[in-house]
């Protein structure tokens, strides 16, 4: 087996430790920035929905500011965001390079995307349910938690699924600030040194990660849709 692998993917087999380390960096970046982005994205998505002109806590000022901010950050290409945020990253994390330095830009790149996804998931909730909850004497916050969030669990999971998959893609660019990860590994060896087998192996690993996210999400969606 080892012989076979040595023949077909020699360049990968010569540096398994490095591959392993890069894989760890990708996982680290996806989980840490993903978890933080989920919290903020969910929060902003709820605020956008609640303060919208048809929301339960209408507020033009908050809605407009948040809406514009999301648009601005969504329109900045991630590679530019990575470098543009260097001063802020240095202030918050203490360093702007390495895997840690990539976390903040990843969050800034993911939160606006996830916020929009959550906003559209919550918009799927039938307005009749909101009206029914109001008629039963629910307060705006009760409506947010007991109707909007509870009723759109499948939609929220779907949003998480899409966001995590796009986050895996974003981490590949973290190499630009020395963040490491599988994308960086593939560029350094597969692209720069022409070790094609490295590229293929990283692609396969990322493909497996994406499939896992996809199937876990689909399983939860199936279980929560009635």
């Amino acid at each position: 087996m080892a012989d076979l692998l040595n023949t077909i993917i020699p360049n990968v087999m010569s540096k398994p430790d490095e591959l392993w380390e890069c894989f760890g960096q990708t996982i680290y970046m996806v989980i840490v920035s993903g978890a933080i982005s989920m919290v903020f994205g969910l929060f902003f998505g709820i605020i956008l929905t609640a303060t919208s002109p048809k929301g339960v806590l209408k507020n033009k000022v908050i809605f407009n500011i948040l809406d514009k901010l999301v648009n601005i950050f969504r329109s900045i290409p991630f590679v530019i965001l990575l470098t543009a945020l260097i001063p802020l990253t240095r202030m918050v994390v203490g360093t702007a390079i390495g895997t840690k330095g990539a976390i903040l830009p990843l969050i800034f790149g993911t939160v606006p995307f996830f916020t929009r996804q959550i906003e559209s998931a919550l918009a799927e909730v039938d307005y009749g349910l909101i009206e029914a909850a109001e008629s039963m004497g629910d307060s705006p916050w009760q409506i947010i938690f007991r109707v909007y969030l509870k009723e759109s669990v499948p939609g929220i999971v779907r949003a998480m699924q899409i966001t995590f998959i796009s986050l895996v893609g974003l981490t590949a660019m973290a190499g630009a600030v020395g963040g490491g990860g599988l994308g960086d590994f593939a560029i350094r060896y597969g692209h720069s040194r022409g070790q094609t087998d490295v590229t293929y192996v990283t692609v396969i690993i990322i493909l497996i990660m994406v499939s896992l996210i996809q199937s876990t999400g689909s399983y939860i969606i199936k279980k929560t849709t009635h």
Binding site: D126, G128, L129, E131, A132, A133, E134, S135, M136, G137, D138, S139, R146, V147, K150, E151, V153, T224, H226
Partner: protein, 344 residues
């Protein structure tokens, strides 16, 4: 129970203003079933939403069970709403919750223990006759079953008022009948005041005690259902009644010169409308005997509204001219509306 005073609701749609409800004053008594009928866009849905302030009126006051809702704070209003149940055309059940959880929804924070809530849910589901579906999800139910669950949910906090917004409009006629019977039963058993919004006169005829007819944001006619049916004043009311009665068909027959209404000289086609609660008297045969004329009934359309027959008959009268005239006078004295539709 419900007092609406000079309710005005205007929607600002940017360029122009839409007067959904303009100056409506209504008093709905405790324990009655009150219908509000109108075509779409008449403002009836907006008006019913003004009762529990889902829509806040632009001006006017809403009083329910002695509380002036329009003066309450947001928190007090939420408490007051718990005593005003509401059901909807599309049921508005929560898809992620089972039937039991849907009914338990408004009981959260009511101070009941889990056990008490469970017992209450059971009792409510039995009341609306759907106890066996407690653990099903709404997507597994038919329309009629969904509406029963919605009614159980609306009754969870023992409300004094139940608002029904087109509650049977998405149901087939048979299911509509069953749901209306259930509402009537709840009204009698619990003494709950029911407000029904509908565009179907058949619904009003079936269970309402009183009715208000709405057009262009105004109440154009209001009264007990029998008198409205017997003697509609507004044009729109007549339009609505026509939708439930066959008596108007005669005009079409006459126009088409149907052999059914071909007259011999001296004969007259009469339309007799029973407008007072006295149809039980054998008026047709009595008139026929007394004035020595024949009354050949072409068709009749009689319904029971509020325990009294209403409707009328279309008949061809034949006999001596003065006898027929005397008979017409006699019927009018007996409070029968008589129209001569055609002279032979």
């Amino acid at each position: 129970m419900i007092q609406l005073d000079h309710i005005v609701k205007t929607f600002d749609t940017g360029a122009d203003k839409v007067h959904a409800v303009s100056d409506v004053t209504l008093h709905i008594k405790s324990g009655e079933i009150f219908g509000i009928i109108g075509f779409s866009g008449a403002g009836k849905s907006t008006l019913v939403r003004c009762i529990n302030l889902l829509e806040r009126p632009t001006s006017g006051t809403v009083t329910v069970d002695g509380k002036v809702l329009t003066d309450l704070s947001a928190k007090e209003l939420r408490e007051a709403r718990k005593k005003i149940g509401m059901i909807f055309q599309h049921f508005n059940l929560m898809r992620s919750r089972t039937v039991g959880e849907n009914v338990a929804y408004p009981l959260k924070g009511s101070g009941l223990t889990k056990q008490q809530i469970k017992a209450k849910v059971r009792e409510l589901l039995e009341l609306v006759d759907i106890a066996e579906k407690e653990n099903a999800y709404p997507s597994q139910l038919s329309g009629g079953q969904k509406q029963r669950v919605a009614i159980a949910r609306a009754l969870a906090n023992d409300p004094k008022v139940l608002l029904c917004d087109e509650a049977t409009s998405a149901l087939d006629p048979q299911t509509t009948g069953a749901i209306l019977q259930l509402l009537k039963h709840l009204n009698e058993k619990l003494g709950i005041t029911i407000v029904i919004i509908t565009h179907e006169m058949a619904v009003v005829k079936e269970i309402c005690d009183r009715v208000a007819v709405m057009e262009h944001g105004n109440v154009v006619e209001e009264g007990d259902v029998f008198s409205i049916f017997a003697a509609p004043k507004a044009g729109i009311t007549r339009d609505f009644i026509r939708t439930t009665s066959n008596l108007q068909k005669i005009e079409k027959l006459i126009e088409d010169k149907s052999p059914l209404v071909a007259l011999k000289p001296g004969e007259k086609i009469l339309r007799l409308n029973y407008i007072k609660k006295n149809t039980s008297e054998a008026l047709i045969s009595e008139t026929s005997r007394k004035f020595n004329i024949n009354l050949n009934i072409i068709f009749a359309d009689l319904e029971i509204v509020q325990d009294a027959p209403i409707g009328g008959t279309v008949a061809i009268a034949s006999g001596k001219k003065e006898d027929i005239e005397a008979a017409v006078e006699y019927l009018k004295e007996k409070n029968v509306g008589v129209e001569v539709l055609e002279n032979g």
